[in-house]
Symmetry: C2
Subunit: 687 residues, 2 copies
């Protein structure tokens, strides 16, 4: 109608073009366009790639949820098979063991056949990548398929293999982040930029943790603590955004799938809120932290020793190198046989899944008190209403079961970590810690059945709170992180034990950090990945150490006035991948860097084009188009070790040249830094 009016008006007045006909109200349109442009500009000011971060979060949440869904079906099928197969012991044993053996050997064979780097947790490698080292193929997309399939198989074995999801999922998330980063580069058309890439990878790590546990806060903090030693608030905000998107999507899917009525935490607890614990219990929490710290030292040490043994032992290393599926099958058979419920498994609650382990361990009630007078009969099937009964075998009592669990799982966990499959090692450690805590809590509840503070209202001790503290403290100690405390709160949806849990985690960390490297650092050391150690303790004595004390001063420089013969000789006799370029042999003034590959290429081209008569020198090659890079940052010999360490960590450097008065006098790489730091911590005895 309006258009018709416009047409009539137009025909009576001036000529109406078709353009005007289709675009009525140009002024309003323009202002709307302007407003949209303004909005777009505002949105983009927050960060040009927030929609990529959002996509990353949502994508990983979808993958995580889909994996959980598929794994759930497989686990249910196994349970059904085991239940329905009849009472014959042989059949039951076979149905219990064949499943994990098949899954683990397939997981191992499949993932190793696609890419040999897909085994293990992946966090050590991600840490190395985030520190600036380029690990070839490690972020390749073909890793993704191998890792997803392998991890699903691993997790489908449930509590038999007792392995988790966190590490590989962080790796998957970082692969996705790298891929999205490349997509962004193509869409925006920018040139590739290392800083931007690293920012994206760091967010990927945070998303990985957040979408496994639906815990954005601890996702960001845990990934920072584990992966880096310095971080910028900018990355932290980006991580939060991506992690929140991921966690939200992950929980939203659970609601849409009618698993839950609304968005809540995964392992909801029900601790008392008004008086969660008596004040003197703080001491026991701190003691629990100390126990967890000591046990984690033992665990890390044994785990590393076993890894080293496997590498050193001829037979084992050969087996691992040639027949990985066989090794996996053998290990799976041992694990499955030990956990066979009618056998030893009944003394270690092996009929429960890992989720059920955690849910029962965080239970409010004291099992020891409940089974004190009348021990309930052993149910033929786990009773969904009273899953905790699995922890109270009538012959063994609660304490026996918990202690047996701790003893057996200690070596089983170490055995499981040696299987070359994609698997996470955080969740088992978390559960192990919860069992330690539960044991102490049950003990206390039996010792003080009326609560600790006498008089007034009775506040019985909650063993579940100790399980929570133990889980946070043990996993924090093993990984050298504090944010596991926050993770425990986000997982359970309650934060009433904030201070005692935090204190337990701090104590456990203090003990472990002073005795052992973290689980991930230990793996880095065993795998011989490049790795820049911490300056431990920051001793006062470390502050005056300056670059000249530890730099590599035998620097092979190439001078511009060097005759070509000599250049060739240098290139042939050394195999570094770049050479510092100096002005003249005499002045040694650093002017840039020339890559070995470029130099070799230039040396191989025809030397005839140079001016005859004059002896050709390096300058001629450079003038002929051999590219050189500038040196953006130069150290001086007076810079301190701490400054240099900071620089390497923050800027993800691999090499810095040291100049004095413009002259190139040396270089510093990780190797020199490592040596300098190890000299600090273990000073030579002939001081």
């Amino acid at each position: 109608m309006e258009e018709l009016v416009g047409l009539r008006e137009g025909s009576s007045g001036k000529l109406v073009t078709l353009q005007e006909l289709w675009t009525p109200c140009p002024r309003i349109r323009r202002s709307i366009q302007g407003a949209l442009e303004w909005l777009k500009e505002r949105l983009f000011r927050v960060g040009e790639d927030w929609y990529f971060l959002m996509a990353l979060g949502v994508l990983m949440a979808l993958i995580s949820y889909a994996m959980n869904f598929a794994i759930g079906s497989v686990v249910r099928a196994h349970k059904w098979l085991y239940r329905e197969i009849g009472d014959s012991h042989l059949l039951r044993y076979l149905s219990w063991t064949v499943y994990p053996v098949a899954l683990l050997s397939f997981s191992s064979g499949f993932s190793q056949s696609i890419t040999p780097s897909s085994g293990g947790s992946g966090i050590p490698e991600v840490k190395t990548i985030l520190s600036g080292v380029i690990l070839e193929d490690y972020l390749d997309i073909k890793n993704f398929g191998a890792k997803v399939t392998g991890l699903s198989c691993t997790l489908a074995t449930g509590s038999t293999s007792f392995l988790g999801k966190l590490g590989p999922f962080v790796h998957l998330s970082v692969i996705t982040a790298a891929y999205l980063g490349r997509v962004r580069t193509k869409i925006i058309g920018e040139s590739e930029n290392k800083t931007k890439e690293m920012e994206m990878l760091a967010s990927g790590a945070a998303v990985g943790v957040a979408t496994v546990f639906a815990a954005p806060f601890s996702g960001v903090l845990f990934s920072i603590e584990v992966m880096s030693s310095h971080f910028s608030v900018w990355n932290y905000w980006r991580g939060f955004f991506a992690a929140t998107c991921g966690a939200f999507m992950f929980r939203l899917l659970a609601v849409f799938n009618s698993e839950q009525e609304t968005i809540t935490s995964i392992y909801k607890t029900n601790f008392r809120v008004d008086i969660p614990f008596d004040l003197p219990e703080i001491f026991f929490f701190v003691a629990l932290g100390a126990i967890c710290g000591i046990l984690s030292c033992g665990y890390i040490f044994c785990q590393r020793m076993v890894l080293i043994f496997l590498k050193a032992n001829g037979f084992m290393s050969k087996l691992l190198a040639t027949s990985k599926p066989l090794y996996s099958a053998l290990a799976a058979l041992i694990l499955a046989s030990v956990t066979y419920p009618p056998g030893l498994g009944r003394f270690m609650a092996s009929r429960l899944s890992m989720e059920e382990h955690l849910k029962t361990l965080f239970d409010n009630n004291s099992w020891a008190l409940m089974t004190k007078n009348s021990s309930p009969p052993w149910p033929a099937e786990p009773d969904p209403q009273n899953l905790w009964l699995e922890w109270c075998h009538p012959q063994f009592t609660v304490f026996g079961t918990l202690v047996f669990f701790l003893v057996m799982k200690f070596w089983m966990l170490i055995l499981a970590t040696t299987i070359p499959i994609p698997a996470g090692y955080f969740m088992p450690i978390f559960i192990y810690g919860a069992v330690i805590g539960r044991l102490l809590g049950e003990g206390l509840s039996v010792t003080f059945p009326e609560g600790i503070v006498a008089g007034g209202e009775v506040n019985p001790i909650t063993p579940g709170a100790y399980a929570l503290a133990g889980a946070a403290a043990f996993s924090g100690a093993v990984t050298h992180t504090i944010s596991t405390a926050l993770l425990a709160f986000e997982l359970t949806g309650q934060i009433v034990h904030a201070l005692p849990v935090l204190m337990a985690v701090l104590v456990a960390n203090a003990i472990t950090q002073s005795c052992q490297p973290s689980f991930y650092d230990g793996t880095i050391i065993v795998k011989k990945l490049p790795y820049l150690p911490w300056i431990r303790g920051r001793k006062i004595g470390s502050y005056p150490v300056s670059v000249e004390h530890f730099m590599n001063s035998t620097l092979t420089t190439l001078a511009k006035d060097m005759p070509l013969e000599e250049v060739t000789k240098v290139v042939l006799s050394t195999d570094v991948n770049q050479y510092p370029l100096v002005e003249t042999t005499q002045s040694q003034t650093l002017v840039g860097v020339v890559k070995r590959a470029h130099l070799v290429q230039a040396l191989q081209t025809e030397p005839s084009s140079w001016a005859p008569g004059k002896q050709p020198c390096l300058q001629d090659i450079l003038a002929n188009g051999c590219p050189t890079q500038p040196v953006t940052l130069q150290l001086s010999p007076e810079a301190t070790l701490h400054e240099t360490h900071n620089l390497f960590e923050l800027l993800n450097l691999q090499l810095l040249f040291v100049t004095s008065w413009g002259r190139a006098v040396g270089s510093v790489t990780w190797v020199e830094l490592k040596k300098a730091i190890s000299t600090l911590t273990n000073p030579p005895t002939h001081k």
Copy 2:
């Protein structure tokens, strides 16, 4: 008895020295000594100064608690006076107003007479100090007394002046940390070290936040987000340790003083745990975040404009410069008159203290629904059981009271921030946000009295949850932080709303960060403190910008072969405080830095000692003992803006020299970086 036996045995055998007599069992003693030494070494490896961190935490907790205790007494006295003074309006008005007027003018006069820098929050200055700038006297111990007294007086005015404790307490804590750092330097006998000092100050900031709110997690994160743009995991761990000690001590004192039965959070809430919110409510939480973001932009803008107006306006700036107590008294009079309960105060719940404000706002029940049918009578005194009635004036209804509170407190808060007294501005903002959230929550609970999801169990909407989200989102937006979400959980002891609150905070932050600087940055800008801006949005265009584009290339260098006359001329004509020293005028090879003060001193000493005949040059002075410093780090013109920015932020630098081929070609300071960054964000129009 044992000694006697020992003596007898000795006399029968060989001679017993007194030494041996007093030191029986030398072998056991030695092994105990060895074990102690080992333990000491282990303990010290964690960090050489952890006991100083512990002392810092405990000390600040004691001070915080003592202040709260003193303030509580004064507030109770005021309440008692106001209650008992009779019904005469004049007397009541006087008793209501004279108290804050006297306290605020004393606070202003006292603190300003001791040190003029004690006013305001202190966080902007601490931020500047932590970025490496030395602010004279700002960490002096005399500030401490002024700030403690002033802050106590300010807080004793309660909700009349509506000011908080956080900012000044962070300042106090940093002062204490600096002092303890000096003590440590003396005890250990090390040389002073800037990095160590900074580490201690950073922990101080974390302790400040943690001991005010008893919230170690958010204490550490908030202090990091507000104060720095880069941080090391090392500092974060130290911060956690100190903050945990502080928070524990702070809450322990409350238990010992029988205020509480055990350690719990400060503003305990009682939200439903099983189904805390219906899923569609997420939208309202996000909308609340957007509202908070927009309002916070308005608040920050108005606040900055008023500060600028006060500086620009002749009369006001004169009043503020000469008669600060008078200005404070006038402002206090206005604030107290407006909040006078029988007057306007009854429409804005002014009879409640700030703690009571928060406690009531986080209430579970919907006030609007409760007062819908029968509006309860207005109590003559606040009813301790039903404090929330203060928010429901019968004439105004709940909504009227909340809206009136928001409108009035908007300008009152801005007025309060202009008073030159030590005061924190975080808590008022937190409460303001809670009121915004409560308003939305009450509106929703009236719109959907049966909950949003129809069918099944009825889940009524909890307005308190919106208050929580609003508080976190508004305070997060004003301060540009995300950890306020965590603070909200730690304060209330519940974390069930983790995702919705985090989403609200993220949305609010996205809006505010793209439009306005943070509250603290705004103050830094108005106060003209040195300040290195962010690289906003990290536009792709910012990556190729390199140092040569923005460096200061008019560098005044001093060459070693410069005649002394020329040196004198240079020194007289410029007033930088250090000069780059180059080898020769021609080569311009950078060899070090010479301080202007040293040079002036050296130039003034007798020139007769130099070799006669030859014209004296700079080299002679240097050889004669004028000290020079080495240049530890040199930039090259090809380094990028981002790298340089990172370096300045991480290493707390003030100046870097740029060298090309060893030649000093320019320098970069904050001024150049700031200019380069502002060109990025507001590119010149004549592109």
